[in-house]
């Protein structure tokens, strides 16, 4: 035998590398195949839809038409009417969401910090959260008027309560043994709050922030249905009454995009601050 050990090791290493390369390639091929099929599916659906309307199997009046939806969306990009409505809705939703998140987590923290106060007011928070937000719309309308404040309040109401209840509940879930441990190690109450309770509740708080995005948009759009002459909620209602279904679809797509942008921001926060817990 003329082959040395080191040569043998080199050969084996090369073979290993080849094998790993092959496995990685197969994996990549599989991912591309799935992606390809997804694209083919949506293109197929849109093509069928477009053709159906063009040859007259289906009525544009009732279901809209992809090419016209694209036309409306393209207008948005160059600053059409749709964009102005989207800006209003975005402003209302983000304001309601932001206020809800900040105040909801704050009151959750406060109720943990003052346990007796927390236990006293907890049932009221639960009772208020049981009121369907839509049912409050007429009330907010009277109190806050026809303007932007009513829509913000409707988005805010659900976000605030979801954030509050989640924050308070997850702070109370802080493992008692962990609190004992910190106490024995000499932690002050504020240190327990900052170094134990808050980090352990963070994954749940961030998950609630994700869910709340949908609530903020829903509340805002409902507000725009009730009384408005601006915003995507108003626009969908108005367009549907005129049987301009392509415009309705375009507005919905813009709403989805807004929601996805907000989701990706919160997801990034979650990855940054709470990736240690994937269950929440």
């Amino acid at each position: 035998m003329s082959i040395s050990n080191s040569e043998l090791a080199d050969t084996l290493a090369i073979e290993d590398r080849d094998l790993e390369g092959a496995v990685a390639r197969a994996e990549r091929r599989d991912r591309f195949a799935v992606l390809g099929m997804r694209i083919a599916f949506i293109v197929g659906v849109l093509a069928l839809w477009e053709v159906s309307v063009r040859v007259g199997w289906a009525q544009e009046l009732l279901i809209g038409q992809p090419s016209r939806i694209a036309h409306f969306l393209a207008e948005t990009l160059i600053g059409g009417e749709l964009l102005q409505h989207a800006m209003i809705t975005g402003l209302e939703a983000i304001t309601g969401y932001g206020l809800g998140v900040i105040l909801g987590t704050s009151t959750g923290f406060l109720m943990w910090w003052l346990p007796r106060f927390g236990r006293t007011v907890d049932p009221y928070f639960i009772a208020i959260s049981a009121i369907p937000t839509v049912a409050l719309a007429p009330l907010f309308l009277v109190w806050l008027g026809l303007g932007i404040a009513t829509k913000i309040a409707l988005g805010f109401k659900t976000v605030f309560l979801v954030m509050h209840l989640t924050t308070y509940a997850s702070l109370r879930q802080t493992p008692a043994e962990l609190v004992d441990l910190a106490t024995v190690l000499g932690a002050t109450r504020f240190q327990i709050f900052r170094k134990v309770a808050v980090p352990s509740s963070l994954p749940w708080v961030l998950s609630a922030m994700k869910v709340s995005i949908g609530f903020a948009l829903t509340g805002t759009v409902v507000g725009e249905y009730v009384a408005a002459n601006k915003g995507l909620g108003y626009l969908t209602l108005y367009a549907a009454q005129l049987y301009e279904m392509s415009l309705v679809w375009a507005a919905i797509i813009v709403l989805v995009c807004m929601s996805l942008v907000m989701l990706s921001i919160v997801s990034a926060l979650r990855t940054r601050f709470a990736s240690w817990n994937d269950q929440a």
């Binding site: 493992p175 043994e177 962990l178 004992d180 441990l181 910190a182 106490t183 024995v184 190690l185 000499g186 932690a187 002050t188 240190q191 170094k195 134990v196 980090p199 352990s200 963070l202 709470a274 240690w276 817990n277």
Partner: protein, 263 residues
């Protein structure tokens, strides 16, 4: 015995607490003391108040009646003299190994560099330095329990309370950790109180075993062992001829309770 010799002293301790079923007596008239550098185990049936007892020494709980002294001072709240380690390692999953280990020092406002040096030297001695920046979830149960011990040791407590720290580990890891922890704590001259359900473990590690009665718990018997001290390590202690006799003795003491419960 005078106070200056005992690390821990319980005098006529009674603990009662309110529950849904009414007032429960967890401990009745419990008295014992533990000398400096002594290794004492508490054994007894489940729910006999062993953990309550450690809670008193750690300053997490106050006795309804009676007194608890640590290092000659009456306990009122957590003290720097006492550290504890539980069955659950209680590592914080959002912190790295190093950040977990320095937690106690961080709470006391130690300088960053100082904490780091100290932590790294301990991690190195346990062969865990390479995991300093890993998250605990990537480590085995034995490693996690070692890290939990280092966290306790870094704050340099004179007394260490161990509440079933080995019971979640597999048998081999348990034997190895018993040896490691025993020799380390002995060489540093720390006072240790161990709670365990494992009679073998209590005999292998202790200088003295305190057998408690079932609830409401009180001291039933104390048995001086010192096998590990004589043999040099808990593992060696298990090979001693007397080991079996100690086991029978402790078992019999606990067994009386089992019969009482059956009747």
């Amino acid at each position: 015995m005078s106070f200056d010799q005992s690390a821990i002293k319980l005098c006529g301790v009674v603990v009662k607490f309110a529950s849904r079923a009414g007032v429960v007596t967890a401990l009745r008239d419990l008295s014992f003391d533990v000398k400096r550098s002594e290794f004492v185990s508490l054994v007894g049936p489940s729910g006999c108040g062993k953990s309550t007892c450690l809670g008193l020494v750690a300053g997490l709980r106050t006795p309804t009646r009676g007194d608890v002294f640590v290092e000659g001072r009456r306990v009122n709240g957590p003290s720097r003299d006492v550290g504890f380690m539980l069955q659950k390692d209680l590592l914080m999953p959002w912190r790295t190994v190093l950040e977990n280990v320095i937690f106690g020092l961080e709470l006391r406002g130690k300088a960053k560099a100082e904490m780091r040096d100290l932590a790294e030297s301990y991690l190195r001695s346990f062969g865990l330095l390479e995991f300093a920046n890993a998250k605990p979830s990537h480590l085995s149960g034995g490693m996690r329990q070692r890290i939990s011990l280092i966290r306790t040791l870094l704050t340099d407590p004179k007394i260490i309370l161990l509440d079933e720290p080995f019971s979640a580990l597999d048998f081999q890891t348990r034997l190895i950790l018993e040896d490691e922890i025993w020799s380390l704590l002995k060489s540093e001259g720390r006072t240790v109180v161990l709670i365990t359900h494992d009679i073998n473990e209590a005999i292998a590690m202790s200088d003295r075993i305190l057998v408690m009665s079932k609830r409401p718990g009180t001291l039933k018997r104390e048995i001086t062992v010192e096998l590990a001290r004589v043999a040099g390590s808990p593992l060696e202690a298990r090979n001693r001829l007397e080991f079996g006799a100690y086991f029978a003795d402790v078992w019999k003491t606990i067994d009386v309770d089992l019969q009482l419960r059956a009747s």
